[in-house]
Symmetry: C2
Subunit: 258 residues, 2 copies
């Protein structure tokens, strides 16, 4: 949706293709270089940062819509993506919207009862990706983006701060029940790498000895014979996820701490 024509078509005819009253605003967590960030877009007409978003096609399964929207924004497929809450309580989710000014800036005539003005609830999904592999695609409405560290989230548009907070809380609770990291680390990784990943996501320090013991005891990772040269330091061993144990844990859940 980059040209004015496409936008006009979306505004006028979108209600034929998409369900009104519902959107999906994914919280995309990106991990790279020991940092956990989320993808924010600058919505031009609103002059503020917010989550990406999209609508559900009329005949499209909900979870497929979430994957599609993610794919359109990041180019990524096969992503860890999880529904965590549906938002419909905040004042912004109560009122009929007033994006009129917003659209008028672009000279699109919307009429009085355009579908985009109606009250819209949001189904919240979060994704966990390696942000160095992402090609963010902006469009007519969003020409800037940033990967913003989770420790420095600014005040966001709408109720998006609430969504980010809840997504992060869910992710942090989840990590005690399900393994993560498969898609965020290279196939072979070092203990310090996965250690930092967990520390970064949980936002707190984890004892490296206990952490390694735990992951090995759970059978989630196994040590390989190979090492990696990392310059003027001792070479760390490489590890791999134990795929079977990992997927079992994903499905059945585990209860423990780190």
């Amino acid at each position: 949706m980059n040209s004015l024509e496409e936008v006009e078509d979306f505004v006028r005819n979108g209600h034929r293709h998409y369900l009104p009253h519902l959107s999906i605003d994914p919280v995309i967590f990106g991990y790279h270089d020991q940092q956990l960030k989320i993808l924010l877009l600058n919505w031009k007409g609103l002059n503020g940062w917010g989550l990406p978003g999209g609508f559900i096609q009329r005949r499209e399964p909900l979870s497929q819509a979430a994957h599609r929207i993610l794919q359109e924004r990041t180019g990524l497929e096969n992503v860890f993506l999880q529904q965590f809450h549906t938002f419909g309580d905040s004042p912004y989710r109560l009122q009929e919207r007033n994006p009129r000014e917003f659209f008028e800036k672009y000279g699109v005539d919307m009429g009085e009862d355009n579908w985009l003005f109606e009250r819209t609830l949001s189904v919240g999904y979060f994704a966990l990706v390696d942000y160095s592999k992402v090609n963010v695609r902006t469009d007519f409405f969003t020409q800037n983006y940033q990967w913003c560290d989770v420790k420095e989230i600014p005040s966001l548009l709408f109720d998006h701060n609430e969504a980010v907070d809840k997504a992060l809380a869910t992710l942090r609770l989840q990590i005690y029940h399900q393994p993560i990291g498969y898609k965020l680390l290279p196939e072979k990784f070092t203990l310090p790498e996965i250690h930092t990943l967990y520390e970064t996501i949980l936002g707190k320090e984890l004892d490296p000895r206990n952490f390694a013991k735990k992951l090995v005891a759970l059978g989630l990772i196994k040590k390989l014979a190979e090492q990696r040269a990392i310059g003027p330091h001792r070479s760390p061993y490489l590890y791999q996820f134990e795929k079977e144990t990992y997927e079992d844990a994903l499905k059945q859940g585990i209860v423990h701490t780190y």
Copy 2:
């Protein structure tokens, strides 16, 4: 909604009051006499059992809608009610609905593009109530109801089995993170009572000694000096919830097992 006039008004004008495409179908867990049941309604025209349901008013916060729908069905207020998932993937949630036959049975002329025919996603909430305190209110569409033991759930209409399964799984996971029981037991209760409650919800046996130790160690309940006479058996002591600890645990969460 008991008379034909009300129904006709709902069918023809409901879209002015309610959001289309979205419903709330609460899974109402009722506990009483050491049994965990859910409320099922018999939808007359569909000849099958399903969950109660309702729509969201256009200007009504989502969680308030859930409470209202529950209140309308059960008369209960101030209930433990929790959102657990939004359903939009099953075949039933994909198609435009075809309740035409259903309504035609009642002689309501709906027209071709009635709002009730459209695809409808469902925001799932579950509630936990004492079913002996419930006055189920049926209406024009639902004149029978039953409290059905969770171990004997029949095949339900639409995707409601999926909703029940997921609600139960969520409740069982939740019980390891948050206390429950405040609204399900009398103010003063015995250890066997709360013990059975937890066993019933989890669907498995819990060692009575360890269980009692745990609840007391967590500071959730305290022993009173009083006992209750229960006939030709030893009189059990009464306990009370420690309100402060209980509410802290509700808000902040706990991680443990039973």
